[in-house]
Symmetry: C2
Subunit: 199 residues, 2 copies
Amino acid sequence: MPYPKDHAARTRARITEAARRLFNLHGFNGVSIDAIMAEAGLTRGAFYAHFDSKSTLYAEAVTCFLHGRGAEWRATFGIDPQRRERSMATQMIEGYLSDAHLNDLQAQCPLIALPGDAARADAEVQEAYQHLLESMVWFFEANGRGGPEGRTAALAQVALCVGGMVLARTLPDSVLAAEVRQAARAAAMREGGLAAEAA
Amino acid sequence: MPYPKDHAARTRARITEAARRLFNLHGFNGVSIDAIMAEAGLTRGAFYAHFDSKSTLYAEAVTCFLHGRGAEWRATFGIDPQRRERSMATQMIEGYLSDAHLNDLQAQCPLIALPGDAARADAEVQEAYQHLLESMVWFFEANGRGGPEGRTAALAQVALCVGGMVLARTLPDSVLAAEVRQAARAAAMREGGLAAEAA
DNA sequence: TGTACATCAGTGAACGCGCGTTCACTGATGTAC
DNA sequence: TGTACATCAGTGAACGCGCGTTCACTGATGTAC
């Protein structure tokens, strides 16, 4: 065994993480395998030793966000169970719709970054998306009022978070974009029965 | 003047409309100029007599939806000022989040169909998007309670309509997709102070 | 401890394809006489 | 009414480029002795 046995796995993870960042920035079609491999410090030829195709990598990049980077994402955008003065649901709504999350394209949630690509991608990618969405719904359910109404509220909160950010990201008028996010935030708070506070 | 003077304008409109449909179905990168011109009943060479570039056409396709197809869109999805038993806002929410709108990819609102492409497109395209969003906000404002709260509600309603549909379009589990749309619909009704009714 | 070797991760040239764009040409049309 | 002509919309071959993918080869690594 000429290389340490986790060598391949580590390289693979490095490629996936590089791909996740670049896909977030430029979309699926906007990123070449050359660019991904360069970002990972390798050359193009090595790619197919790790992945079957570009599409496979795409699915893995979304999954990697969900399973590997959730904690880091929450930390970056201020979602912290120790902060007792605001509920977890409030923290999620504010973090998700924050300026920081809007502007940090690399670290952004893939639900915002890649909605168009995902809708036209293959089943593997769409399932990765669905798992990400489900985990977001569960977060709001677990930190909400419970019951069928709690689930409805959670789904609406996710729609508001993602919808507000998808729109804000596209609008060239940043004042309007901020207004959309603010309105989505207020509505998401109302849906969860959460008290509105100054930002 | 060898051709009728509206000949060029009509051909241009035919190309734009073909492009709008195909972009909706397959995204900006998923559609070639060959495919667009074939859809319009022409061949590739004629394209550059009408448009400077593919990107210019993209912006025009979005604008064409807003200015040329608004009435037809509303008619297709059941938004009708004559129907007095439901408010215009209710009709818009139900029409936008309906099964019919989700499944009719060609006629779908570009805010749903192309969010990822638009975010990375040039300024011209983004402005076309912004106008479309603004007209949707105005619709809800004009048919809402008025005042600053009416505007906030309108913005939230747009975020719910677009967010609900963007997510629904990507989810492979159609039961979950329907649940998301239903929750978005209920929340949008609450935001507008509208009575919930059976669908 | 040092050396030959087997393994396999990574390299980079090459292939084929599709796309956006250009351009010299064709041919359909309305007008002038 | 009929014909020659000027105009310009549309054609389709061609170009150049970038991309996904393949593959024969290189060279770095741990192991056997």
